[in-house]
C-alpha cells in the first residue's frame, strides 16, 4: 500500500477500524467467562457497526445511516438492560456471574 493511502484518510480507513473493533468485541465474547464483560464486548461490536453506518453516511452523503444508528443504540440499550437483569438474578443464586451458570436457566 503506498504512503499516500495511509495519509489520505478515506472511507476504507474507517471501515478497517470498524472491522478491528468488531474483531476485538467478538474475541471478548468468545474468550471471556464473565457475563458482564461478554455483554460489554457485545456493546463494542454494536459500536463498531455504528461506526460503519456513520462513515458510510458521511462519505456517501446520505443521512439514512445516521437514522439507523439510533435504532442500533436503542436495541443495544434494551439488550444491556435485560442482560444485566438476568445477570443479577443469576448472581442472587450462585454469587458469581460465570457464563457456565446460564446453562441451567429455567423459566
Amino acid at each position: 500500500m503506498p504512503m499516500s493511502n495511509l495519509v489520505d484518510v478515506g472511507l476504507s480507513h474507517y471501515l478497517a477500524l470498524s472491522a478491528a473493533l468488531f474483531a476485538i468485541g467478538m474475541l471478548g465474547v468468545l474468550m471471556r467467562r464473565n457475563v458482564i464483560v461478554m455483554m460489554m464486548s457485545i456493546e463494542l461490536m454494536l459500536n463498531a457497526v455504528n461506526l460503519t453506518f456513520v462513515a458510510f453516511s458521511r462519505f456517501r452523503d446520505n443521512m439514512d445511516g445516521q437514522a439507523m444508528v439510533f435504532f442500533v443504540m436503542t436495541v443495544a440499550a434494551a439488550e444491556a438492560a435485560v442482560g444485566l437483569a438476568l445477570a443479577v438474578t443469576i448472581f442472587k443464586r450462585f454469587r458469581e456471574v460465570n457464563i457456565r451458570y446460564f446453562e441451567h436457566l429455567k423459566g
Binding site: L21, I24, L30, V37, N50, Q66, T89, F91
Partner: protein, 178 residues
Amino acid sequence: MTLTAQDLLFYILGGLSLASALGVLLMTNPIYSALCLALTMVSLAGLYASMQAWFVAGVQLIVYAGAVMVLFVMVLMLFDLKSEVKAFSRGAVAGFMKLVAVGLMTGAFLAAIYNSADTLLGTSLAANVDGTASTKALAQMLFGKYVFAFEAMGVLLLIIAIGAVALSRIEGGTHADE
C-alpha cells in the same frame, strides 16, 4: 497529499479506541473493563464529531458513555467483584480455534474493504454541513420516513422495561424452585 487535521484526529481517536477496546478484552478486573469501554465510547463520539455527525456524537455521549455505562458500573458494584483468577475460558485448542476464527473473519473483512477501495473512494464526500441543518434533516427522517420503526422502538423499550422489572422481582433468582 497532506495530513489534514481530520486525518490526524482519525489516527489519534482511532488508536485510542483500539487501545481501550483491547483493554476491555484483556483487563481481568471487570471495573477496569467497564472504564476502558467508556473510553472507547468517548473516542468513538469524537470520531463521529470529526465526521460532522454532531447529533449522533452527542447521543453517543449521553446514551452510551452516560446511561449504559452507568448501568454496567452500577451492576458491577452491586456484585462487588474482585479481579478474576480465571478471566478467560479454558482450553488451549479451543482458544486457538477461536483466535483462528476471528482472524479469518477479520481477514475476510479487510480483504473486502481493500478490494473495494477503488469503488468506495470514488464516492463523493459530503460538503461541510451545518450542524443545525443536518440535525433537522435527521429529525425529519426519523419522524417521516422511519416513523413506524421509531414507534416500534418505543414499544420495544416499554416491553424491555416491564421485562427487566419482572426478572428482577423473581424471588431467589432464576432457580427458585430447585
